[in-house]
């Protein structure tokens, strides 16, 4: 991976593309900043002037409600001007390439793009071709990364297992479900590893475990009861039903039988274990309805934390563009050279 793409020469974030390669210090900084912002949101006035006058474009090539909404809310609370663009699933049918889309929107003097695309590497692509001073924030690219989801998962874990950041070192974490297709799982693993978590278990049938995932620093487990035995954190992944049937799983019922988190299974877990899920949940598949809203579940808290975490990232990226000079001024000094 090329960490230099998302970090500037001082090691500060220029873009947020992936959690891979980010230091514990930087991750802690983001989480601390999110804590500060979260506190500031508790009053009646929820807006801050940190991105006043900046333009944030939510560029979504995949349908999304909750992620786009929280990004929109986060940007608005930072006083940015926000534009939501829901692009057709295959915008190429209109003849405009992704490169052209980026350049066209850049010409409207956007300062930040929040990008979601079905192709792994899409955020890297935008970052490679973005004009200097324009920040790219990855809101999910294919199976590769969903770094703000990873960060909000870390934020949630620290809230309940911290507050000391060193809490991550002794945690036992199980990530359960469709790891193969999951950008959330990959971002969670990078984040947890960076913060020192040693015991990360990937729990899924072999059809849903990608080859060589052990090299990311996890152990693979094909039995739920073993996988969640004694863990502090269970992260359930969403199963995309339409994608699963046939080749990956015989049926949703069989998955629930073997890997669904039920009240019975929870007895193997520690009493203080927490349950997370990036949503939206499939009741009766990954998780039993009672468990989803039970006392150990933090699923709704995750959604809530997502706003503060996304605000923190946007604020950091917004500041990165202004070391003394506003981003827009810098951009005009160094016009974008089309790299081809």
């Amino acid at each position: 991976m090329s960490p230099e793409l998302q970090l500037d020469s001082h090691g500060r974030l220029r873009h947020l593309l992936t959690l891979e390669g980010l230091s514990a210090t930087l991750l802690t900084e983001i989480l601390d900043s999110a804590e500060d912002l979260d506190r500031s949101l508790r009053g009646p006035d929820k807006s801050l002037p940190l991105l006043r006058g900046r333009t944030v474009i939510n560029l979504f090539f995949e349908p999304s409600t909750r992620t786009r909404t929280t990004f929109e809310l986060a940007a608005k609370r930072l006083s940015a001007d926000v534009l939501n663009l829901q692009m057709a699933a295959s915008s190429t049918s209109k003849g405009e390439t992704l490169f052209d889309t980026l350049k066209t929107l850049e010409a409207m003097q956007a300062d930040m793009f929040v990008v979601r695309h079905e192709a792994s590497g899409a955020a890297h692509f935008f970052a490679q071709h973005a004009a200097p001073g324009v920040a790219i924030l990855n809101a999910g690219d294919g199976r590769h990364a969903h770094p703000t989801q990873g960060l909000l998962d870390l934020f949630t874990i620290r809230r309940y297992k911290g507050p000391d950041i060193s809490c991550f070192r002794k945690l036992r974490v199980a990530i359960v479900g469709d790891v193969l297709h999951s950008r959330v799982a990959r971002s969670d693993i990078h984040g947890l590893r960076a913060l020192g978590t040693q015991d990360i278990r990937v729990v899924a049938p072999p059809t849903l475990v990608p080859a060589g995932i052990e090299q990311m620093g996890v152990t693979v487990c094909h039995r739920m009861d073993e996988g969640i035995d004694g863990v502090d954190v269970v992260i359930l992944l969403r199963l995309q039903k339409e994608r699963m049937l046939g080749a990956y799983l015989p049926s949703m019922g069989e998955f629930h039988r073997d890997f669904g988190l039920t009240r019975k299974r929870m007895q193997a877990m520690r009493k203080d274990a927490i349950i997370m899920h990036p949503g939206p949940i499939n009741r009766g598949v990954e998780i039993e309805g009672d468990v989803a809203y039970g006392p150990q579940s933090l699923i709704l808290q995750q959604v809530n934390h997502g706003i503060a975490v996304r605000m923190a990232v946007m604020a950091i990226l917004g500041q990165a563009g202004t070391p003394g000079a506003p981003a827009r001024a810098r951009r005009t000094r160094r016009p974008a050279a089309r790299t081809r």
């Binding site: 192709a119 792994s120 590497g121 071709h129 990959r186 990608p210 080859a211 060589g212 995932i213 990311m216």
Partner: protein, 450 residues
């Protein structure tokens, strides 16, 4: 009937370049002459007259009129024979053309290329074979040999007119990257080709196992979230086709081997004396899936760059002669083809001009002898293609390349003659440079620093 006969005559003209009758004889002396066809590796003189090799030896008949090239410290070998190069014409001339790619081939020391049938339209009729040959002749300077489509329009559901294609000049048949989902069609295609003694070039990749994939299945693809192409995609296809060879006795050439297990399967088939051969793309002998990291679109190729252990096994198979040819797998692209997120980019490398240095790197690494490297680039592929090339025998057309094996140079994409600038080797320091290329005795390429 008469049309068919005319076609044959025409194709004969297309294939053997008319030797340059005029012009001065040429004497190349001082070079280390590598002629793998005869197993000869000596410092001898080579005399070229009337477009053909007139004499090879310590001394040659005196030719007072001859132009002399002093080739001390250089290697002289037959012009390279490239088993797979896409020149993008007809159909995709926004990527490249015969004119541009012929110049690039000459600069790469290549005098013979095999053109796969996946042009637009597909080469599945005699008329298309002839059209290709005509385009090649107009561009000039490289002998282009055509592979006809194995199935109509490469759709995999009906045999192409293989006999007519062969009569028109096709040297083999192939379905290129297109799958043949119906195994009965696959079997009948081999039976039919066997009857015509037509070699069949197979890109061994199981379509279902590779579906949607763009990277080698392993830790890198997993971390990057790229849809994988497992090793089994190659191995399963190899086993399938080998079992059809066992049934039919057809001669099958496997294109672009990429895995260690694939090489094992091939070795087992060869040990049973089955008529199967294989080639490898030069980049597979150097790059691995680690090079894809960072979403390097220039490393998006098919078959994908594999693990380091696969690369090492391919190198060993090349050294041992199990793999008898290195090819460029040249796929020039316009810049836009690579300006996209990795999975959406088009696979392929513009590789004509790096085939020789990448193969010579294996000599510098001590893996191959100079004669072995020459064999994998000339006589080996010529035998697989069934074409008369890759030899320095007296009387043969003087297709030669003069190489400085030690000359180091840095690849600058703006200096490539190919219209495709898509190479992951940009900025790399390469060792081994083509100085002069001769086709039928005519010097068709001279390096600026020759």
């Amino acid at each position: 009937m008469s049309r068919r006969a005319n076609m044959k005559e025409w194709s004969a003209q297309a294939h053997v370049p008319a030797p340059a009758e005029t012009g001065k004889p040429l004497l190349i002396r001082g070079a280390r002459v590598l002629d793998p066809a005869s197993g000869s590796d000596h410092k001898v003189q080579v005399l070229i007259r009337d477009g053909r090799i007139a004499a090879v030896g310590k001394t040659t008949p005196s030719e007072p009129r001859a132009r002399t090239i002093d080739a001390e410290n250089l290697w002289l070998m037959p012009g390279l024979v490239d088993l797979c190069a896409r020149f993008r014409e007809p159909g995709q001339t926004h990527k490249a053309s015969f004119a541009s790619e012929s110049r690039a081939a000459q600069a790469g020391g290549i005098t013979h290329v095999l053109i796969p049938p996946d042009t637009q339209p597909v080469i599945d009729t005699p008329a298309m074979v002839i059209r290709l040959q005509r385009i090649a002749q107009q561009a000039g300077g490289v002998s282009a040999h055509v592979l006809g489509a194995l199935t109509k329009d490469l759709r995999g559901d009906a045999l192409a007119e293989l006999s007519a294609l062969r009569s028109a000049g096709a040297v083999g048949a192939s379905n290129a990257f297109a799958p043949i989902p119906d195994s009965r069609i696959a079997r009948r295609a081999l039976e039919y080709a066997k009857g015509l003694e037509l070699p069949v070039h197979i890109f061994a990749q199981d379509a279902a196992l590779a579906a949607g994939g763009c990277a080698h299945e392993g830790a890198v693809a997993t971390r990057l979230g790229l849809t994988p192409i497992p090793v089994a995609a190659e191995v399963a296809a190899l086993r399938f086709w080998i079992s059809l060879v066992e049934d039919t006795g057809a001669r099958v050439h496997f294109c672009r081997l990429s895995t260690a297990r694939g090489a094992e399967v091939l070795a087992a088939a060869r040990s049973r004396r089955l008529p199967v051969t294989a080639d490898v793309a030069a980049h597979q002998l150097h790059l691995t899936d680690a090079d894809v990291d960072g979403f390097a679109a220039q490393c998006h190729v098919l078959p994908p760059l594999r693990a380091a252990s696969d690369r090492d096994a391919l190198r060993a198979a090349l050294r041992d002669g199990l793999i008898e040819a290195v090819c460029s797998d040249h796929q020039p692209h316009e810049a836009d083809a690579k300006i996209n997120p990795f999975p959406l980019t088009e696979p392929g490398i513009s590789a004509l001009e790096t085939l020789l240095p990448l193969t010579l790197a294996l000599v510098h690494d001590g893996l191959l002898t100079p004669l072995q490297a020459a064999a994998r680039l000339t006589s080996g592929p010529a035998a697989i293609a069934g074409i008369r090339a890759g030899t320095l025998a007296v009387g043969e057309p003087a297709d030669l390349v003069l190489v400085d094996p030690d000359r180091a140079w840095v690849l600058r994409t703006e200096q490539l003659l190919s219209a495709g600038r898509n190479t992951p080797l940009a900025g790399r320091r390469l060792r081994g440079r083509v100085l002069r290329t001769f086709r039928a005795g005519e010097e068709v390429f001279t390096a600026s620093d020759a």
